[in-house]
Amino acid sequence: MAKEKKLYTLLVHSENIAGILNQITAVFTRRQVNIESLNVSASSLKNIHKYTITAWSDEDQIQKITKQIEKKIDVVKADYYTDDELFIHEVALFKISTPILMENPEVSRTIRKHDARMMEVNPTYSTVLLAGLTEDIADLFHKLNEFGCILQYTRSGRIAVTRSFEEPISDFLEEQEKKVNGDAE
């Protein structure tokens, strides 16, 4: 397996129990792999939480990390993906200076060109929201930064759904449930 480093996305599904995030991040820490972004949310399945984690790694290492995460008792399933296997989105909020926005027409042109939305405008600052790919957000950040108008900036972790048809764990859970029902019969 090549040792080429790529940005991988892990989708982890777990039971909704306290302390699982800690167990997942510990797997990265132990191997000295930085988590680039992390998002935790409910999934489409009841009581199952979904973690979307990105990290730079080679495939060999990300495969081992994925297996070690899946080994945790309350983790239902863990899989890793490359960008071409996923629909990916991130959200960023920019707080910018209204006086600069008013002074320099390039600022609002740039915001429009990036399909970002003005959420709020008041005499001192304005809030801009952009949902998109990592590169789109980074691009807008760099441009606004050049205009010297950014007061605050924050970006969410990546969220992603697979391009395959189902939640990857629904089959797995069904299979597991069958096992216990089968035993009962």
Binding site: E15, A26, K64, K67, K71, I73, L173, E177
Partner: protein, 572 residues
């Protein structure tokens, strides 16, 4: 009918009883007092159910639970208090994690209201234990006790076994709940027995059928899966020579015609050399530890590798496999055996003998039959092994005593070696041996320990005295931390930095604890003194005055390939 209302502590007793627990290793303290109060009623009188072994240090409780589990195949249990009581067990918990030993540690915890306040003897046990446990859980309500205990035992013993820590908040011990037994045998996020992949089984069988020089590596997984007879059928059908890891030593009886000895840094010469010559390597229930592989980048490069393991995270972790058969080896081995042709590999098998002869001449004979000079570890182990006819349980500590005893002991019965393989825990031996006497009361338990490791747990003489635990302790005393000294001599220019050790007068210590004691200084007394020890009921310490600066051989130096194993070393 109304359900019975009981305390959480009482629910723990009933839950442990439902899990079939009879033996508990423990030490009381503030936050676990309600549990000890319930235990009182279960350890005496008409309702007596549990034997509670009061250890002298909580670390020993964990190691004793490990020793118990390793020989019996049951879950070892210990109960300790919060804070220092709990943290003291963690070395044993980490040890159990690395060596796949099923134990359940139940620790007291401050009440839920005091959590996070840095209360007296409060420690974030679940937080600390998580990376070194299979599962760690805090019981915060009395009504969760039955579920948590049953889940703990299910997780500890199923699949690849391991340690579970239950952090039992004091309020959950004292509060009451309606008693209803719970039996957990399913956790939806946990798949302990993965289904065999038929294609992988076929591919494995095909590789073996086409192999000219197949070689099997036997790990503890065979013992944990109770697959010793399946292993023999598998090996014999295709005439496959096999070597055993340190933890897998008793998975195949010593002297079986296909047994080629022990793997590892200080294992036997032939299996290490032959690893680099085989064409198909079949690893069964072992994890390619660095002590087995030496330099992984040069390990068995010429071979196709088949890996049988119940834990899929072990596949490709250290060594890349050609075919992975994930599943319980009690199922996977017979499945492969069925598809295997009957075969013989006489020439290949006999090619090991050349290397055996070299090791025998250069290492083994000088170690077990020295003509002169001070006593050697090898000859003491060999003497005890002969006197116990391979029927005893070997427990050892860590270091030279561990390597010598593992190499020269004999194993005729399954589950006969209790050793700290993964974590390499000095101080493990003595308490683990105590635990083993409770786990296998019908068997002779022989402990080999060094003077360093013994002193790390010597307080357990108190437990041995009180329980009259019949441990036959063989102290291989060389007045050195011998293994580190060997490395200092070999790799650190003979600078013996803090490895020489002034020892106490062990006879006086034994006298204080009422433990039988004898010492061997002269070789000619060895046999008689070993026989006397084995013929004496109860605990016994046989101190052997060992040559001070002896080395364990053969040896693969760290960072070297397994075929660079040395039969002799030169120290300048």
């Amino acid at each position: 009918m109304a359900k019975e209302v009981i305390t959480g502590a009482e629910a723990l007793m009933r839950s442990l009883k439902d899990e079939g627990v009879k033996t508990i290793f423990g030490y009381p303290g503030g936050s676990i007092m309600p549990v000890y109060d319930s235990l009182y009623g279960y350890t005496r009188g008409e309702n007596k159910w549990f034997d509670h072994i009061l250890v002298r240090h909580e670390q020993a409780a964990a190691h004793a639970a490990e020793g118990f589990a390793r020989v019996s195949g049951e879950v070892g249990v210990c109960i300790v208090t919060s804070g220092p009581g709990a943290t003291n067990t963690l070395t044993g918990v980490a040890d159990a994690m690395l060596d796949s030993t099923p134990i359940v540690v139940i620790a007291g915890q401050v009440g839920v209201g005091a959590l996070g306040t840095d209360a007296f003897q409060e420690v974030d046990l679940v937080g600390v234990a998580q990376p070194i446990t299979k599962w760690a859980y805090q019981i915060r309500r009395a009504e969760d006790v039955a579920w948590a205990v049953s889940r703990a035992f299910y997780i500890a013993r199923s699949g690849r076994p391991g340690p579970v820590v239950l952090d039992f908040a004091k309020n959950a011990q004292t509060h009451t709940t309606e008693w209803e037994p719970v039996h957990v045998d399913y956790v939806r996020s946990y798949n302990p027995y993965p289904k065999l992949n038929a294609k992988a089984v076929e591919e494995a069988a095909e590789l073996i059928n086409n192999a000219e020089k197949p070689f099997a590596l036997i790990g503890q997984g065979v013992e944990l899966g109770g697959a010793q007879s399946e292993l023999v059928e598998f090996l014999e059908k295709a005439d496959i020579p096999a070597a055993r890891t340190l933890l897998g030593l008793s998975a195949l009886p010593t002297g079986h015609p296909l047994d080629m000895g022990m793997l590892g840094m200080h294992g036997n010469y032939a299996p290490n050399i032959k690893t680099q010559e085989c064409d198909v390597l079949i690893a069964i229930g072992m994890r390619f530890s660095d002590r087995v592989t030496g330099l992984p980048s040069t390990y068995a490069k010429q071979a196709k590798i088949i890996h049988l393991d119940i834990d899929k995270s072990e596949i490709d972790k250290n060594i890349k496999t050609t075919v992975a058969v994930v599943g319980d080896c009690k199922m996977s081995m017979p499945a492969i055996t069925r598809l295997m042709k009957k075969n013989t590999h006489k020439e290949w098998r006999e090619s090991f003998k050349k290397y055996d002869a070299m090791e025998d001449e250069k290492v083994i004979q000088p170690a077990i039959h020295p003509a002169e000079g001070p006593l050697l570890m090898g000859e003491v182990v060999n003497m005890v092994a002969e006197a116990t006819h391979g029927d005893a349980v070997l427990v050892n500590d860590v270091g030279q005593n561990q390597m010598f005893s593992a190499r020269y002991f004999k194993y005729n019965k399954k589950r006969s070696i209790v050793t700290s393989g993964g974590l390499g825990t000095m101080g493990f031996g003595l308490p683990a041996a105590v635990g083993a006497t409770f786990g296998a009361p019908e068997r002779t338990v022989c402990l080999f320990t060094g003077d360093g490791g013994l002193q790390m747990s010597i307080q357990e003489f108190g437990t041995i005295m009180e329980q009259q635990a019949p441990v036959k302790m063989i102290l291989l005393n060389n007045n050195y931390l011998g293994n580190v000294r060997q490395w200092q001599d070999m790799f650190f220019g003979h600078r013996q930095s803090y490895t020489k050790m002034l020892n106490p007068h062990y006879e006086s210590i034994c006298k204080g604890y009422g433990i039988n004691y004898d010492v061997v200084i002269d070789r000619k007394d060895l046999k008689a003194k070993v026989d006397k020890m084995l013929a004496t009921d109860g605990p016994y310490l046989l101190e052997c005055a060992i040559k001070e600066e002896d080395n364990v051989l053969p040896m693969t130096a760290p960072g070297k390939s397994v075929d660079e194993m040395m039969l002799e070393i030169k120290i300048d």
